[in-house]
Amino acid sequence: MIQPAEPSKTPVLSVEGVSKSFPGVKALDGVSFEVRPGEVMALVGENGAGKSTLMKVIDGIYQPEEGSVSIGGETVALQSPQDAKRRGIAMIHQELSLVEDLSVAENLFLGELPRKSLGRVDWKKLYADSRRLLDRLNCQFSPRALIRNLTVAHKQLVEIARALVYETRVVIFDEPTTSLTDRERLLLFEIIRDLRSQGVGIVYISHKMDEIFELSDRITVLRDGTPQGVLETAETDEDSVVERMIGRKVSHAARTDFRSGEDVVLQVSDLWSRGAFREVSFELRSGEILGFYGLIGSGRTEILEAIFGLRKCYRGEIRVAGERLDKHNPEEAIARGIALIPEDRKENGLALSLACDRNLGMTVMNQWGNLAHPSREKRLFEEYREKLSIKAPGPSYPVDNLSGGNQQKVVIGKWLATEPRILLVDEPTRGIDVGSKAQIHQLLRDLAAEGYAIIVVSSEMPEIIRVSDRVLSLYEGRIVSELVGEEISEESVGRAITGVGELASTAHDSNTSPES
């Protein structure tokens, strides 16, 4: 890590003793936080620790009840995100906020398009200014390109370029790597280091410890809205950061609990799906956890969808306990004991406006015939509230009002309710904090021990290593390696991907699509 020449000691942004409450919750309690020019300050904490509230205070969305925010030593009262932007604070949101059918340049200067007489856009100035911004980030694409036609990584570059429109003193990154491939991630890190060397203060929010240790100079830890200290990255380690986050010790025993599984319950042979994957064959046994590891676009999620009947395949077959699936729809899959716990809880997992019991009953309804059974739904609710310790006051409480972790439990509950033998789990802990992550990993191990056959798809290697008994690595829609039991390690799994990956990715440069 190259330290910037002479880091100034005056913080470019500092927050002093800020408190903010919402009805019933004190989200921030006397939090202080600072970023110096030319440093990367990581901000970590579990979900609900107050990170996003703090960022919203800095971004001018919330006004704090106590304490102060100062930028470049001058105390300010920020009223809106625009206000913050004008004073040099730029926020790169997790969800990209671009307008798809406008050009790159128009997005860069959204809300501030240069004007000529009669309200006309000054295109010349717009394109010239945009070109300058893009050049600062070494972007090759044209400012005239439509956002719709860019890759995710390029869109993110546009977001970053947008942050540089004003003379930016602080850039805040909120989980920026979630939807990036490895190569794109490295590119992003280069840009962040570049910004740092230009004297910009960086706030980096992430759940991924490896990134934080790779990138940051200092780490601020939050727990329950209270500060847990600031650590020099070079002088600390992962465990002590996590301990401060969750408030207890972490144990690191090497895994010895690999299970080899019993009967074959799922057999996939020579499965092909257009534009997603090909030649996929594998077996899954009851009592084992099979990990699917691969980059985004490697076909992992698509294979799960195919097994569950949500995606058409034009070749190959799927057998459950020796019998072929022939209808290829979710109804059949559920009836044969398959459950798919999707990655995107709000999109595919829950009907948010409906009550807890209705959501739990959704998957089992097909077995009921034509009449609904409210009493059974209530019983399901009571059963899974106890089993999974879902914190919900009553069966007809809308899921929308539950916390994220509890919503995830409802999703798991509604799938366990179908009494499946095979669990397909897609990114079980994406966007979930460290504490709940461990809980969910334990839950998966327990379920396997009870005899469930489980496939876990993840793009996080530590997760795959922590839960899997066997790992299949995927690259560009193909299974490229199989690792069993003790063979599984960071190196072996990583090698399986990069061995193939480096060759292919140098050939095709920066394209997200696996089939390019």
Binding site: D224, G225, P330, L340, G349, L354, M362, L371, P393
Partner: protein
């Protein structure tokens, strides 16, 4: 933790709990003593007992949540606003006109509202599933023309059968386009509105149809008949309302409608057959239109080509006033019925007070916007939109 069936009570205990729970509290609520929580439970029990003991007054107070510890008028408005509006309108008209409060008047309002009402029941189901049906007006014209025109040619029963088949065919086309092909329902049914109108005109050659022998046909029963002093259209309307309310809340089909309307992709991931469910929702809508057409044809004993023109919007107006969200996932048959009746009584009351017929449309305008505004406002916790 005892769970209560009283929905207002549940809302209370929920919000109380969230407020009472400090952010660091761990473990499920039933694990440890939670004084505030218990307290609210006790309050709930007391409220329940009061309801049982106290008769209508207490029942009303419980319905509105007046006894709950964190009572607020916005919540009452959000949940029961339409009912309040209805009560206020009824009381107002009764005071203003002495002819308003009579059995004959009520019966005539109900009879007049029944056609819009019957159509609104079917469309409510489509709306809850997250779609729209703008073709019901044209469909009403088509089915009415068919049943009236064929009545003299092939007899009443076959005429009704043909009209039923035609209506269901239209519904099936809607269902196929929206359900199977997953096209935008607004545009599809807009196109169907135009196409069915065209078919009606082609069929009738632009002529109006009449039933010649009006006094001797049993077909008159549906529009003009009475059972136990109550007009058949009213009975049909209320009967269908009860059946469809049961379909929505007592069957898995109803559960699927709600699930799809709330989040279609989550429903499909749960093994719910979206294609079939959406398809049937449009068949139900078409069936209701057919019922309305039979009542219409039988009452008027004749039909113009454009008899149902604009009905789709009046139907939607009633559903919207009843509080169903056009985004899907929420809505109630009973509230749609109240929406229909509210608009019907407003029309009637205004006429009795001597306003011109067209004043009712102005009032409908205000009612629609105020009703939805209050609903939306209560949901977001402030009256004005957050737009700068």
């Amino acid at each position: 933790m005892p769970s209560s069936d009283d929905s207002s009570g549940e809302l209370t205990s929920g919000t109380r709990r969230a407020a009472a729970q400090p952010p660091r509290a761990s473990g499920p609520p039933e694990a440890g003593p939670d004084p505030v929580h218990q307290q609210s439970q006790e309050a709930l029990h007391e409220a329940e007992e009061a309801v049982v003991a106290g008769g209508i007054g207490a029942r009303f107070r419980a319905l509105l949540g007046l006894d709950s510890p964190d009572f607020s008028w916005t919540k009452v408005l959000a949940k029961q606003g339409i009912l309040l509006a209805f009560v206020i309108a009824m009381v107002g008209f009764s005071l203003a006109s002495d002819r308003f409060l009579s059995f004959d008047n009520f019966s005539s309002v109900l009879r007049q509202s029944s056609i819009i009402g019957i159509m609104a029941l079917g469309v409510t189901i489509v709306v809850i599933s997250g779609n729209l049906d703008l073709s019901v007006g044209s469909m009403l014209s088509f089915a009415t023309i068919l049943v009236v025109d064929l009545h003299d040619k092939i007899g009443p029963a076959p005429a009704m059968a043909v009209a039923l088949v035609a209506a269901l065919a239209c519904g099936a086309i809607n269902g196929t386009l929206v359900g199977v092909l997953r096209l935008n329902s607004l545009i599809v049914t807009l196109g169907m509105l135009s196409a069915i109108q065209g078919f009606t005109l082609i069929y009738s050659g632009g002529q109006n149809a009449d039933i010649t022998n009006q006094s001797d046909t049993w077909f008159a029963f549906f529009g003009r008949g009475e059972i136990a002093g109550i007009a058949v259209p009213i009975l049909l309307f209320l009967g269908l309302a009860i059946i469809l309310e049961w379909v929505l809340h007592g069957t898995t089909f109803g559960r699927r409608i709600f699930a799809i309307g709330s989040k279609a992709s989550a429903a499909e991931y749960s093994g719910i057959n979206r294609v079939k469910t959406v398809f049937f929702s449009y068949l139900i809508s078409a069936f209701c239109v057919w019922c309305a057409a039979v009542v219409m044809g039988s009452r008027v004993m004749g039909s113009q080509n454009t008899v149902g023109k604009g009905y789709e919007l009046l139907v939607l107006a009633a559903i919207i006033v009843g509080g169903a969200s056009l985004l899907g996932g929420s809505g109630k048959i009973s509230k749609t019925v109240i929406g229909v009746l509210l608009l019907g009584f407003i029309q009637n009351g205004l006429l009795l007070l001597g306003f011109s017929y067209w004043t009712q449309w102005l009032v409908t305008w205000v009612v629609i916007i105020v009703a939805v505004w209050l609903d939306v406002g209560a949901r977001r916790g402030r009256l004005l939109s957050p737009y700068a």
